[in-house]
Symmetry: C2
Subunit: 259 residues, 2 copies
């Protein structure tokens, strides 16, 4: 099973390195920016390429890790390369449909590592759930087998369920991270150190290891502590955008306990 | 330094046990519900009381851990007990002013452990920042000294700064936790396991240990990936409240990168 990686962004970079580390052979790495292709290719012992048409059809598996908007176009271009018809071609996106690839390839699929990646940060790949989906049933075994060499959690997940996971991932990751940013903005505006809040942030996550977030909720919205809610509203007049979020999130918490 | 604990809720329970464990003597524990007072009193070797007027003035330090709305009233009642005039009296609230106590006591203060507590969950108290504030300067040394026996981070924090920390704490803790609840609601509605999202949630927090949340942001809002944003909006028609939050948080992220 040899691999061609198309895209050397955050996901391609970490996934490529992990596959390489677990003994899989990566032959070619494509990026529109040659420097990016080279950065990754050097680390995984592959050949760097910045022209899609220079890719060859010698690999068994093609992984497309480009922005969602570009997947369809890349798949189309890939399909024009001689000898590609029977290749297994997947993308790594949480939100994009398998159809973008299935339009051009019989053996289309998805290989989605459910995690947030930044190039300058190592992640424990073993803990990252890999969501696999394929058009041709016999390919499922192949992708799950590979997924299990790089992660302890590999699951077959339909397009519809992956879309649900991706929306939920935006809430739990992107939006939470933005709330941390708001916390930092508020404290640093008043010259209070954000570090004082970090143990609280850690505990927020540890709490839901074995309890539901609903059961673990605390704070003025949960307690209907109107005095404190009013104080916070008054304070947040300094930050009108944050005030709007504060009100909507407070209302949403209160609704959750009315159900 | 002997202690009387007034209130045996989440904060009083954990703080009382920690002080006891570090060798401080707790003499009396008050709760309106005798069972709660007894639960804690047994664990810290104190006497349980359910009538405020049955408290005595034999302790050096009085810790009021009741709901914000009740602090003023409790302080007033406490001040009627003979011999209480010169006692050090603090509350443990993030949001309440010191004035609620200072109205009745010269030696008023705050002893605020910046953490989220649930009775059935152990926390590493050593990691919890304790924010101390006192009306009489000489008491600051006393409270900081005690705080340092139970935590590695003890700081003098003014009422104004504590209020700021408390608003920020609501964003990073209560609101993030609610986003986790939304993630669970969405996934479980579709019979997808929420557990698949837990490694992502962990990584969200680990990422900000040494980087700012602003630098660590990823996702469709950050990338201005309009195709995915539209898909998510369409999907969230099933959850109108969540859709409203999704739009406002997306806008807020985009604003953060325009600044």
């Amino acid at each position: 099973m040899t691999i061609t990686l198309i895209g050397a962004g955050n996901v391609g970079y970490h996934l490529g390195r992990r596959l390489h580390k677990k003994g899989w052979t990566i032959r070619q790495v494509f990026s529109r920016k040659l420097a990016n292709a080279e950065l990754l290719a050097t680390k995984v012992g592959a050949h760097a390429i910045d022209d899609l048409m220079a890719l060859d059809a010698q690999s068994d598996w093609y992984i497309i890790s480009v922005s969602d908007d570009a997947i369809g176009q890349v798949a189309q271009q890939l399909s024009k390369i001689y000898g590609m018809q029977d290749k297994l071609v997947v993308h790594t996106s949480g939100a994009a449909s398998t159809r973008l690839i299935a339009k051009y390839f019989k053996r289309a699929g998805v290989f989605y590592p459910l995690q947030t990646f930044s190039k300058n940060r190592k992640v424990k790949f073993r803990n990252i759930p890999i969501c696999v989906y394929v058009k041709r049933q016999s390919d499922e075994k192949i992708l799950l087998k590979i997924a299990k060499t790089i992660s302890k959690t590999a699951s077959a997940v339909t397009d519809a369920d992956r879309a649900v996971l991706h929306v939920a991932a935006v809430f739990v990751n992107n939006f939470s991270n933005h709330l941390f940013h708001i916390g930092q903005t508020i404290t640093e505006k008043e010259a209070v150190t954000f570090d004082l809040l970090k143990p609280l942030i850690q505990e927020t996550v540890l709490k839901i290891e074995d309890q539901t977030p609903l059961a673990m909720q605390t704070g003025p919205a949960r307690r209907n502590d109107t005095q404190t809610l009013k104080k916070h509203e008054a304070y947040l007049q300094k930050f009108p955008d944050f005030a709007q979020l504060y009100n909507l999130l407070t209302k949403s918490i209160q609704d959750a306990y009315r159900r």
